[in-house]
Symmetry: C2
Subunit: 435 residues, 2 copies
């Protein structure tokens, strides 16, 4: 092992007290996903580079793989790369196993993804994502889009993090509006408008000009981008702009269904400036941001009608992705949680010769599902307790003919029985601190 | 997405009904690890190639990474590769954060590792591992070796898999014995002996001759390799071979401590033919195999005194690794578990207009932590039930003024209340089938 260690930029790792928080978030997510009947999958981390590139974007910064011991055999095999999201691999998996799956197929997946981007605030080269997707065989009704956004809203609320606002839109609304204006370069226009929050309306106007839009078209696009709606009725604001196109009308209907499916508390807003970067989205798109501050998005997703389709029936899907690493990065400085172990109890060791006595206590507690550690040191009680306290463990246990338990938080000490003692949940639950 | 999909050899993925089993195994492991006070970590997947290579083995078949969009900047950065185990990254992490950790430090980690080996039975290019390790600052008493093996024994027993036999040894015993015989090339001798089960005693004898051992030395090495012991007293069989060396004596003492720490039911056996491949082991080594059959090892580990040490205090560690993918691969053909979703209930939809009624039932069940799905189709009840049955869901729920629940397993149907109905755990627990 190298003498000096130096962190790798863009590859975050957490200390135990932070990782316990991340695992707590993951456990909450899994619970919500499973309550809703999403089945877990853990897929391979690599895909054929050709499949990764096929989504047509050049800025995904794929990491290619090559065996250091590669030989001529390797050159005959497909080039492999690490996946940059969990959607493309999932679509590939569904296509590969379509004959063995029951549709619509719902899965959740919590795994890292990799992007070789230049590291910056909120941008990582390896990051953990929690995705849920539903894929239909042949078709997938728009009500699923609404249900997925509604579920995302519920799930984000169930997490002990700052309030998240979901900005939704529909690619058909944008594309239909642009087509209605006679715009030709739809893709470039979408990309320019999606940058509104980053580069401002003048910046967008400049990019639209490059994309070939005239001043009038550009003005109308920016007008649209400025609009928001929190109910399906408010979508009339967009219709009132006077642009007409079949695709626009279809998109507005779909967007209305999504808005109607969500809790009407202002937590979900149709925002016409949201387009999302991935090419594969074909309808609904969503992006979640902390309601306060200007942090980058913490979740996102959308509808993809053609991602998993190849030969045979189309396999349209709708999915959302929660950026666990991004959330952890944003919370990091505010977290006060300081327990460094899952243990709730440290069992004191009176002296080396009596270690077996403490091990027996630990075994009895574990048999009753109480996580615990036996003190690693056999020094003065004060020192053993200090170590427990350093670990953030709330209780120490003194074995004896009569057992005693001391709560480090309250300072109280009382006799306890191995048969029925339980830690106070108030002292064992993770306290994240007001974020 | 490519029109044709073709599996990648060596990168296994499971169908939902199998993944549910894997997740069940993972949940059991996490529970055991946390009960014992091991804290979770999720570390990055990449290391500097130099750090990976430093462990001195050439046969680990590392996957190197390179951004497809690499430029001159990239050439200035450290070359990166995917880790081939979870021990080397953990040791690096401990060294990096030694000032912020409380020692001895216990962690568990469940992540994939990658090795670019030619795929064959039980050998994968990407595989999931569950590791526990303990690392001390300055020193780590041998009793921890015993505790780790004992814990591994308990954990493997807690899994619903065939009985596992743990074969333990101590590198000091082997090295001390070889040195006592005057053998020079210790490393080569260890490697040759470790292949006994694979290439037989004649094969080993041949390799030992190549390693420079004379016939007498080779004969004694094979004599040792044939010995087993299930108690510390039985280790006298090794002492009785008459070879003496300080390191041998030290190793036998350590091995005795390990054997004494374990349940004496024959599940843990000191086997002198076990050496383990990794160079970084310095004392205790362990390898677990299904007691029946000739399957490859499903768990392994050992003591490493120098892996995490660099500048400052040494950081000796002891760890074991459970090969989840390997276990799944061995179980796969015997599994009968056929539920394809975490849902316990499918709520019937009477007709499209009444979908909201079914959604409300689902919400009420979920609020009481009962995982469920609302039927995706609105067809004849028989068809909706058939779909639930295809998914392996044990119950269907008929909403109404009086709700009714039908158990698909028993065929019984009865009225039920949203306030207190619960599924029978007998019908919801995963049934793995007799492995």
């Amino acid at each position: 092992m190298a003498k000096k260690v130096q962190k790798l930029k863009g590859f975050p790792e957490w200390l135990p007290e932070r990782e316990l928080v991340q695992q707590h978030l993951i456990a909450l997510l899994r619970h919500q996903f499973e309550l809703n009947g999403f089945t877990p999958l853990q897929l391979r981390s690599v895909e054929r580079v050709d499949d990764l590139l096929e989504q047509g974007e050049t800025d995904k910064e794929i990491y290619g793989l090559r065996r250091l011991a590669a030989d001529a055999e390797d050159d005959k095999e497909a080039k492999l790369g690490l996946h940059y999201d969990l959607t493309v691999p999932f679509a590939r998996y569904v296509q590969e196993h379509r004959g063995q799956l029951t549709f619509p197929f719902r899965r959740y997946q919590i795994q890292p993804a990799w992007r070789g981007e230049r590291p910056q605030r909120g941008r990582y080269r390896e990051f953990l994502q929690a995705d849920i997707d539903i894929i239909g065989s042949g078709k997938l009704e728009v009500r699923h889009d609404g249900q997925m956004i509604r579920l995302l809203q519920d799930v984000m609320r169930a997490l002990p993090i700052p309030r998240v606002r979901l900005l939704v839109n529909n690619r058909k609304v944008l594309e239909g509006f642009y087509r209605g204006l006679g715009v030709e370069h739809i893709h470039e226009t979408l990309r320019a408008v999606d940058k509104l929050d980053k580069i401002g309306s003048e910046g967008v106007a400049r990019e639209l000009r490059i994309a070939g839009l005239d001043d009038q078209q550009s003005k109308r696009c920016l007008e649209l981008a400025g609009l928001e709606a929190t109910t399906s009725a408010e979508l009339d604001r967009i219709r009132d702009l006077g642009v007409t196109h079949d695709l626009l009308a279809e998109g507005l209907t779909e967007l209305g269904i999504v808005l109607d499916a969500c809790a009407s508390d202002g937590g979900v807003v149709a925002a016409m400036r949201i387009a999302r970067g991935f090419d594969y989205y074909t309808g609904t798109v969503v992006e979640g941001v902390f309601a306060e501050g200007d942090a980058p998005s913490v979740c996102s997703g959308g509808r993809y009608d053609n991602l998993a389709s190849g030969s045979g029936q189309p396999l349209p899907g709708m999915g959302v992705s929660i950026g666990l690493t991004r959330i952890m990065g944003l919370l990091e400085d505010h977290l006060t949680q300081d327990r460094k172990t899952p243990a709730h109890v440290v069992v004191i060791v009176h002296e080396d010769e009596r270690r077996a006595e403490s091990e027996a206590v630990a075994a009895a507690l574990r048999a009753r599902d109480i996580p615990c550690l036996v003190s690693d040191v056999t020094s003065a009680y004060g020192k053993q307790m200090k170590k427990a306290s350093q670990l953030g463990v709330p209780y120490v246990w003194f074995p004896g003919d009569t057992h005693e338990v001391k709560c480090i938080v309250t300072g109280e000490q009382a006799s306890a029985s191995l048969d029925d003692w339980r830690p106070d949940p108030e002292h064992t639950r993770l306290k994240l601190g007001a974020p």
